[in-house]
């Protein structure tokens, strides 16, 4: 029995190595106005550039490797292969970006507001400066899309067209889980902590391929669209610790249904009506983290131009999509990235030669 368990564990460990970035990946470290260095990775366009650069941002408890997992699962490298210079970013205290260090003025709390007020503007400005582009395109997964919503709703500049993928603007959908979150959330989450979500994820990594239809599959991905081995790699090096302040701010999406600044004074959802940047809003039919209702709420709030894209077999996809399938799914290049790129291209002015 012990041998069987050992073999299973060893089998589960087969994918537990970090796949390094390829040699063409360029590392950049711009500094935010409040003193945090962010990790950005640049992929130059393969062949002649076909459009403006694209900046890619991950969701909560994640890092830049969500958009650049390996050769076959990389939105960044896919965009580069299509002639778009592509950049990934890690928000503060995730990935290779700076960690909190009070001795250097990098203190807690880290809130969602820091991401849209400091991190995203810094990344946009850096990409514009390096590339020479007047404005760039942007794709954000989950919270990465919410950051763009907040930024644009408050008049943020420099984004030409945007894709959000599995990005909710409210999370009070009458599920039994909400009551649990309302009860436990405030007890677990506070401004002055960093939740060890990366450690927890990595601890579970060897078991990820051993449990079929377990809670991770139900919550994060659909094996119809993402191989368990791919998911396992993401767990190993695509996860990050979670800033308690950011988690606390986002809890209001469940507690009050409002999508607001931490002080409650800025109503992002209401202000999203002012957004005139073209946005494509992508949702997965079986996304149980950000259900289509939660994502559609954001779509409805946008001023437009905008496009809704529900990834489902009823719309031609070859499998149903959960939350993470939107960025690491085996067919995501065809079923998600391609329509996103087409949307970006549709909003490009005609190129003159």
């Amino acid at each position: 029995m012990k041998r069987v368990l050992l073999l299973l564990l060893l089998g589960g460990c087969a994918n537990l190595r970090v796949v390094p970035l390829p040699k063409e990946a360029e590392r950049h470290r711009p500094k935010t106005a409040d003193g945090w260095e962010l990790s950005l990775v640049r992929y130059r366009a393969v062949g002649p550039a076909t459009g403006r650069p694209v900046l890619l941002c991950h969701g909560i408890s994640a890092n830049e490797r969500n958009m650049d997992l390996d050769d076959e699962h990389s939105m960044a490298r896919w965009f580069a292969s299509q002639g778009r210079e592509a950049w990934t970013m890690s928000v503060r205290a995730t990935g290779d970006s700076d960690r909190p260090d009070p001795s250097k003025g990098r203190t807690l709390p880290i809130r969602f507001d820091h991401y849209w007020q400091y991190d995203l503007p810094t990344a946009i400005e850096h990409v514009r400066k390096v590339s020479g582009a007047d404005a760039i395109d942007y794709a954000g997964h989950s919270m990465g899309g919410m950051i763009a919503y907040a930024y644009l709703s408050q008049g943020g500049q420099g984004l030409h067209a945007v894709a959000t993928m599995g990005s909710p603007t409210r999370l009070d959908w009458g599920t039994g889980l909400e009551q649990l979150i309302r009860t436990l959330g405030p007890a677990v989450v506070s401004d002055d902590i960093i939740l060890p979500s990366q450690f927890g994820a990595q601890l579970s990594a060897p078991l990820q391929t051993l449990v079929d239809d377990g809670p991770f599959q139900r919550f994060f991905y659909n094996p119809e669209s993402t191989k368990p081995e791919t998911w396992q790699r993401l767990v190993v090096y695509g996860t990050a610790d979670t800033a308690g302040g950011a988690a606390k701010q986002l809890l209001t999406l469940v507690e009050t249904s409002r999508f607001t600044s931490a002080d409650g004074k800025v109503d992002f959802r209401a202000d999203m009506a002012r957004i005139r940047t073209p946005v494509i809003v992508v949702a997965g039919k079986l996304d149980r983290v950000a259900p289509s209702s939660a994502v559609k709420d954001g779509y409805r709030a946008l001023g437009g131009p905008k496009r809704w894209l529900l990834i489902t077999r009823a719309n031609g996809a070859l499998g149903e999509y959960g939350h993470m399938d939107l960025v690491i799914g085996e067919r995501a290049p065809d079923e998600v990235f391609r329509p996103v790129l087409d949307f970006f291209n549709q909003h490009e002015p005609p190129r003159t030669h």
Partner: protein
């Protein structure tokens, strides 16, 4: 407990199911079924169940299983109405007229108050057309859209082809279409979903399929007075809206928004496998393996409690 009740019900000679025909002023025959346990009385109003477009009474009572008998076992008097174009009712060529059929049914029942269980797009029509009827006390709405939006590629193709359920039953491709729209990611008692497709559905008429498609594409359906959106939004009936994540015919994002626009009348309960055994599709919400365990008790509880 549920199993015991089900056994008693199955074995009980006291359950009576009666059928009567109700004629509309424009001479369409509607079908009305009454489920009652002889000798059982209750203070609760009767419950009227309305199937989805193209569905029949079987959505609530398929081979002795379903919400109708489940509620009867708990002492309620239950009616199932097949409105024009559904089940054994006369032909339907107008969506708005289908919504109006409910009034005829309520007149025929001669009840002071009644609770309503509605399903899908038919539910939207029925609620919109009868939002202010004082006889309706409470509403259970199962995947009932407020907003219509351009349908999925598959739903569009199905409706462009006239909404012919009969064309789906005979081929693997048709079965796949039915699965993706009505029963995906769902568990059913053996043979139920395919059996329901064969015997529980009825082709939409071409005019109804075209009207439904136009409604989806245009976002709303104008009625003689107001529209579906305006009338549903103004409904003050205490309503419990139950949503299944895996519904491919009336997607939850079309339905959930009703809660926000309802001024508090609509309460929302969504299902997903994150916390329950099933995501629930359009059909499994009523006939799925887990419906009696997860969905039906919520229906009963909402109707039975003193204040909704």
């Amino acid at each position: 407990m549920n199993a015991v009740l089900a056994l008693l019900l199955t074995a009980s000679p006291e359950l009576s199911v009666s059928h009567r025909r109700v004629d509309t002023p424009d001479h369409v025959a509607l079908a009305l079924y009454r489920y009652q346990r002889v000798g059982v009385t209750t203070d609760q109003p009767p419950v009227l169940l309305i199937p989805e477009l193209g569905f029949s009474r079987a959505a609530y009572d398929f081979e002795g299983r379903g919400l109708a008998r489940w509620l009867v076992a708990r002492g309620l008097t239950v009616y199932v109405a097949e409105l024009r174009g559904q089940g054994k009712a006369g032909p339907g060529v107008s969506l708005e007229a289908l919504g109006g059929d409910l009034r005829v049914i309520l007149d025929a029942l001669k009840v002071k108050t009644i609770d309503l269980v509605v399903h899908g797009w038919a539910g939207s029509l029925v609620i919109a057309s009868n939002a202010t009827d004082p006889r309706i006390r409470r509403v259970i709405a199962l995947n009932t859209p407020l907003l219509a939006e351009p349908p999925s590629v598959l739903a569009e193709s199905f409706l462009e082809d006239g909404g012919r359920f009969s064309s789906l039953a005979g081929s693997p491709q048709g079965a796949r279409t039915f699965d993706l729209l009505f029963s995906m990611w769902s568990k059913f008692p053996r043979g139920t979903d395919r059996g329901f497709l064969s015997t529980g559905t009825r082709d939409l008429s071409r005019p109804v399929a075209a009207q439904l498609l136009a409604w989806m594409r245009q976002g709303d359906l104008p009625l003689a007075s107001g529209s579906v959106v305006s009338r549903m939004t103004n409904s003050t009936k205490p309503t419990l809206l139950l949503l299944g994540l895996a519904d491919g015919f009336a997607s939850p994002e079309l339905c959930a928004v009703w809660r926000e626009r309802s001024n508090g009348a609509v309460k929302l309960r969504s299902f997903s496998r994150l916390e329950t055994k099933e995501d629930f599709s359009h059909l499994s919400m009523l006939l799925g393996t887990y419906a009696p365990e997860i969905v039906f008790p919520l229906v009963h509880d909402f109707l039975a409690r003193a204040t909704p």
